[in-house]
Amino acid sequence: MRKLARLNWFGGSAAWLWLLIVMVPLYWIVVTSFKDESAYFSQNPFALPTAPTLTNYRMVIESDFPRYFVNSVIVTAGTIIPAVGISFLAAYAIVRGAGSRFLAGVNGLFLMGLAIPLQATIIPVYLLIIRMRLYDSLLAIVLPSIAFAIPLSVLVLTNFIRDVPKELFESMRVDGATEWGMLRTLAFPLTRPALVTVAIYNGLGVWNGFLLPLILTQSPEQRTLPLALWTFQGQYSINVPAVLASVVLTTLPIVILYAVGRRQLLSGLTAGFSR
């Protein structure tokens, strides 16, 4: 490990340089969001605000952002809980039912879903949602989002369930446990980290999702945060500090979650993708 650790100064400088490139815009977003409009035009862009103000934040909050926030929470939770649940069931079936041609076929279908760009099916999804009379509702965003989350979730979860030693299943089965019982008392606790990772990863995607809300909703009452950001920017594009305050406010909940669960997310993603 010592050898690996002192590997290459070149990678080190690339990492530090890129960190700078990552941090500069983030720093600029935060400092600018506390400046008033005149300070934004007169001050050095990187200077700290001389008279920090919360006007921008007040303006964003008064533009109905709390409502959009609630919408985003409903859509995200409403997608992730069922999506992870049914993906876990499917992954369990695929691992435990290895040898079944039906399950192998289903698994192949899910894997194919990984190679298909989501946007490409948006027009028939739109038609489907209209025909189901769900257009312009939060459910319209939730249903396709669940479906789109399945392929990757099943892939990651099957990898994890496969790691559970077969002997454990066998000994439980000999003791008379049902598949449902083994799923609950064996597979679930052992794959909990993977479940959390899959939930966070998909949650990020849904929380930040733009295309489905753009196409499947219309009225301000059903707006989610990314869409609200975009319309807010359209209205106040001249007021850069206010626009940036809206960026901070929509990202803040995720940053807080990240601060709490970063270890889980980073290690889980690493394990999930690097195999």
Binding site: I94, S100, A120, F210, P226, Q233, T251, R275
Partner: protein, 297 residues
């Protein structure tokens, strides 16, 4: 006495139903739309009224449209250039972050913040940052930063590739970090004994050992680049002119702005075919990725 075979088939019967909810959802909102888009490409529909069969008219008009080769060209340009920028940098950074020192952990925490922002937020930020009148360039009075970044076609394409890299390099570095940590240290120790330098070690151990990780990361980048819709939509809306009008945007504009769902569906079918072809190609390049999943476990 149950033989392993009957044991397995007993299990299969009992678990089969568990796949049903996921299968139903995926068929309903994944497979049906996939077939649907092919069907819709042979119809005429304005997004509101009735759907009429249109034969091959959409296909003929889209394939004859000079906008199509342009959109395909821009899509591939962004795909290849953003891959070429992201892959070497992510590899380098991922290898570096794989070190175990504590400060690198903290570095990683800061490094991955762009993963948390929505494409809409990122696009809005860069739009303000690069504004030729009120952005960073004029604010710092730096001439070379004061350009009409999003108003000139060559520059706008460069900006899109830069912003894509800004958004996704952290994610791919993370994938490589995980990959590097799975390489046995003994390989490096052996190379050290043989007198191989670090550059040599990087190219003869790290890179070959990461073969499957590189394939995974590249597949995500390449197929993902077909879906850069939101970023480009908010950042340039395809402009200036149609300089950044990628296929996904072309589909949206034809379908939801010009209300021509038939031609838009033709573009969608092309997107699906390109995505599948690229995924298969990358899989061929790296042998089977499922094999790598079992090797890595």
């Amino acid at each position: 006495m149950t033989s392993p075979r009957t044991g397995a088939s007993h299990g299969t019967g009992a678990v089969k139903w568990m796949v049903v909810p996921a299968l139903l959802m995926f068929v309903m909102f994944g497979v049906v739309p996939l077939v649907g888009v092919l069907v819709l490409s042979f119809t005429q529909w304005d997004g509101l009224g009735a759907i009429h069969p249109a034969g091959t008219a959409n296909w003929r008009s889209v394939l004859a449209d000079p906008g199509l080769p342009h959109a395909i060209w821009v899509t591939f340009e962004i795909m290849i250039l953003s891959w070429a920028v992201q892959t070497p940098l992510s590899l380098l950074i991922g290898t570096f972050l794989a070190g175990r020192q504590r400060y690198r952990g903290w570095l990683a925490v800061l490094f991955f913040v762009p993963l948390l922002l929505s494409s809409a937020a990122i696009a809005i930020t860069y739009k303000a940052l690069l504004d030729p009148n009120f952005g960073l360039g004029p604010g710092l009075k730096l001439g070379f930063l004061t350009q009409d970044w999003l108003g000139r076609s060559g520059l706008a394409l460069g900006v899109v590739i830069f912003v894509v890299s800004w958004q996704f390099i952290p994610f791919h570095s993370l994938i490589y970090q995980g990959g590097v940590r799975q390489i046995p240290t003994s390989m490096y120790e052996a190379a050290e004994i043989d007198g191989a330098g670090r550059v040599r070690q990087f190219f003869s151990i790290t890179v070959p050992q990461l073969k499957y990780t590189i394939i995974t990361s590249s597949t995500l980048m390449v197929v993902g680049s077909l879906t850069f819709f939101d970023l480009i939509f908010v950042l340039t809306a395809g402009g200036p002119g149609d300089a950044t009008r990628v296929l996904a945007l072309d589909m949206y504009k034809r379908g939801f702005q010009a209300n021509l769902m038939g031609p838009a569906s033709v573009i969608a079918v092309l997107l699906v075919l390109i995505g599948l072809a690229l995924a298969l190609l990358l899989r061929r390049l790296g042998g089977s990725t499922t094999a790598s999943q079992q090797d890595g476990a």
